[in-house]
Symmetry: C2
Subunit: 184 residues, 2 copies
């Protein structure tokens, strides 16, 4: 584990550790095991073990390889569930990195525009139309990170409700998408 205040250049995965402007390791820019190591949650050897395990799990049988490739398999195009999970991951992560305070006018306009276009081109038509209507009736709140994170969480809950899924308690949005669960 690291001593308090100690920083490292290279993580257990061999990748360079990326720090945010405030000097803290950036969660969404590093591998999970590297991040756990540089934030002192796990030892270097534990990180290396975890990395080699996840690499082993990722390797697949060679039956279904794409012709001419040694690594790419014949994965089918995403279905509606995979597409939904992927897109929410990206959208919540974008909210999590939105300026904490006082985004510029350009940053506010770009986020609003991005969500609006997203609702036009999302590759499931009925999902897109529903999201477009939601945005029309509930303008994205882009005055700061907390506002946008809450807005995104509520937009996601609107979809959860439509799909008969339980509501996520938005009081936990920051732990789920920004800080993780073991920090105060």
């Amino acid at each position: 584990m690291l001593e308090p205040g100690q920083t490292v250049g290279i993580g257990p995965s061999g990748r360079k550790i990326i720090y945010d402007a405030d000097g803290k390791p950036c969660r969404s820019c590093n591998e999970y095991n590297d991040f756990q190591f540089v934030t002192g949650k796990i030892s270097k050897s534990a990180a290396i073990t975890a990395l080699s395990t996840s690499n082993k799990l990722a390797s697949v049988s060679s039956d279904d390889l794409i012709p001419g490739s040694r690594t790419y398999t014949k994965v089918p195009p995403p279905d509606v569930n995979q597409l939904g999970r992927s897109s929410w991951t990206m959208l919540h992560a974008m909210a999590a990195k939105f300026p904490k305070e006082k985004p510029t006018d350009v940053q506010k306009q770009e986020m609003t525009k991005f969500l609006t276009i997203f609702s036009h081109i999302y590759p499931c038509d009925w999902c897109a139309k529903d999201f477009e209507k939601y945005i029309r009736e509930n303008s994205p709140k882009v005055d700061n990170r907390e506002q946008l994170g809450q807005w995104m969480c509520e937009a996601h809950n609107h979809v959860n409700k439509k799909l008969g899924k339980p509501k996520f308690n938005c009081n936990f949005w920051e732990k789920r998408w920004v800080t993780g669960w073991d920090e105060e």
Copy 2:
């Protein structure tokens, strides 16, 4: 299995089957097992078995539940790999649903704008900066689906190269992201 030309309203999952404007089942709007069933790839009973297996795999131990929830667990925020996978899934799927021929000027402008803003707000700064530079030097090609799909595949390969990953053979982009592997 279905007879040729037969259509169904409700899939084995209990969800309504969504069809594209051309009358074919929409891959990115349906669950994978429903799609496999309505396209005649698997029987109804096989689809139901697959669905119940994936539901079982998705259920988790209750140790790590979010306070007050019976289903949501303390999942950590996405790391750089999960964020990358999710974002590429969404971007390729968007290319896969882009108009095959003659997108309108608005559709072309929106796709270009979306990718440009994406390169500003992607929640990993160094990844975003690299993608911004790539877009500046390689304008997105938005004259039809095939062009955009190839452009996206090449943009992804640019990142694969940076990360030391093998190149994906872009001749297969349509099978990977639009049609799947068992159709001609």
